[in-house]
C-alpha cells in the first residue's frame, strides 16, 4: 500500500463539505485533473450524505471514511453503523429513493457508479452499510 488514511466524524450535515475537502486533499497526491477531483468529491458526497440521512436517519452516529492509494488507484470506503439497507437491488436502481418527501432524487448510487470506476456495497439491516468505490487516475 502506497498511502492510507482513515477519517471518522459525527454524522452532522455540516461535515459533508469537510469530508469532501479532506478526501480531495488526500487524492491530490495522485496528481488528478480537476475533473477527476470533482468526480471523486461528488461520489464521496453522495455516500457521506446517505450515511447521515439514510444510515443514521439524522440521529447521532459516526461516519468513517477509509482511503487507500495503490499505484494510480484511489479506493474510498464510506461506512456507517446505522439502519442498513433491506433491499439492495431496489436501493441501487436509478431514481429509487425511500425519502421523496425530503426531495431526494434517488440518483446517489447512479452518480457514484458514473463518476467512479467501481462501486460495491455491503449492507446488513440493523448493522450498517459500507460503500467502497475506486478510481484509477491516468497519468498526464
Amino acid at each position: 500500500m502506497d498511502n492510507s488514511m482513515k477519517l471518522e466524524f459525527l454524522s452532522k450535515s455540516s461535515n459533508e463539505g469537510f469530508a469532501r475537502v479532506a478526501v480531495a486533499a488526500f487524492a491530490s497526491q495522485l496528481d488528478p485533473t480537476l475533473e477527476d477531483l470533482s468526480d471523486i468529491k461528488t461520489a464521496l458526497s453522495e455516500a457521506v450524505t446517505n450515511a447521515i440521512i439514510h444510515g443514521y436517519e439524522n440521529t447521532k452516529g459516526i461516519v468513517t471514511i477509509s482511503c487507500q492509494i495503490n499505484n494510480d488507484t484511489l479506493t474510498v470506503t464510506v461506512s456507517d453503523s446505522g439502519r442498513g439497507i433491506e433491499n439492495l437491488e431496489q436501493a441501487m436502481e436509478p431514481l429509487y429513493t425511500s425519502h421523496p418527501e425530503m426531495e431526494r432524487s434517488g440518483m446517489g448510487f447512479t452518480v457514484m457508479e458514473t463518476f467512479m470506476d467501481s462501486v460495491s456495497v455491503r449492507s446488513a439491516p440493523g448493522e450498517g452499510t459500507d460503500v467502497t468505490m475506486s478510481k484509477t487516475i491516468k497519468g498526464r
Binding site: 463539505g17 468529491k41 450524505t49 431514481l95 432524487s105
Partner: protein
C-alpha cells in the same frame, strides 16, 4: 445565493454560489419557495455559473422547484452550466423537463 425577480416574465432568477449539497439544500429550498410564493412567480431560472460544487441533492432541489413552477403554469431554466455540472445533470435525466440556456438573458428570452 442571490435572488431577483423579473416581473415582465414572472421569473425568479436564483444565482447559486459555493457548494450545493444536502447540508445547504434545505435552507435554499425554504428561501426560494418563500420568494416564489411572495412574488406570485411562475418561472424559475437557476444561474449556476458561480456554483463550485453540486451533487444529487442539487438535482432534488431543481426537481422540487420544477414541480412548483409547473403547478403555477411556468417553466424552469438552467443557465451557466459548467461541463462538470453538465455531466451530473445529464445522467439525472432532468434535461427532459427543464430548459437550458447559455445565459440568464437567453433564458429570459425563452420564457
Amino acid at each position: 445565493m442571490e435572488m431577483r425577480y423579473e416581473t415582465a416574465k414572472r421569473a425568479l432568477v436564483v444565482s447559486l454560489s459555493h457548494d450545493l449539497d444536502h447540508h445547504g439544500a434545505a435552507s435554499l429550498r425554504e428561501k426560494i419557495d418563500y420568494e416564489f410564493r411572495r412574488r406570485r412567480a411562475r418561472n424559475i431560472i437557476f444561474d449556476l455559473s458561480a456554483l463550485k460544487f453540486m451533487d444529487s441533492s442539487g438535482i432534488g432541489l431543481i426537481m422540487g422547484r420544477y414541480r412548483l413552477s409547473v403547478a403555477a403554469g411556468g417553466k424552469v431554466f438552467l443557465s451557466g452550466v459548467s461541463p462538470q455540472l453538465d455531466r451530473l445533470i445529464s445522467i439525472s435525466g432532468i434535461y427532459k423537463i427543464v430548459g437550458w440556456a447559455k445565459s440568464i438573458s437567453e433564458a429570459l428570452q425563452c420564457l
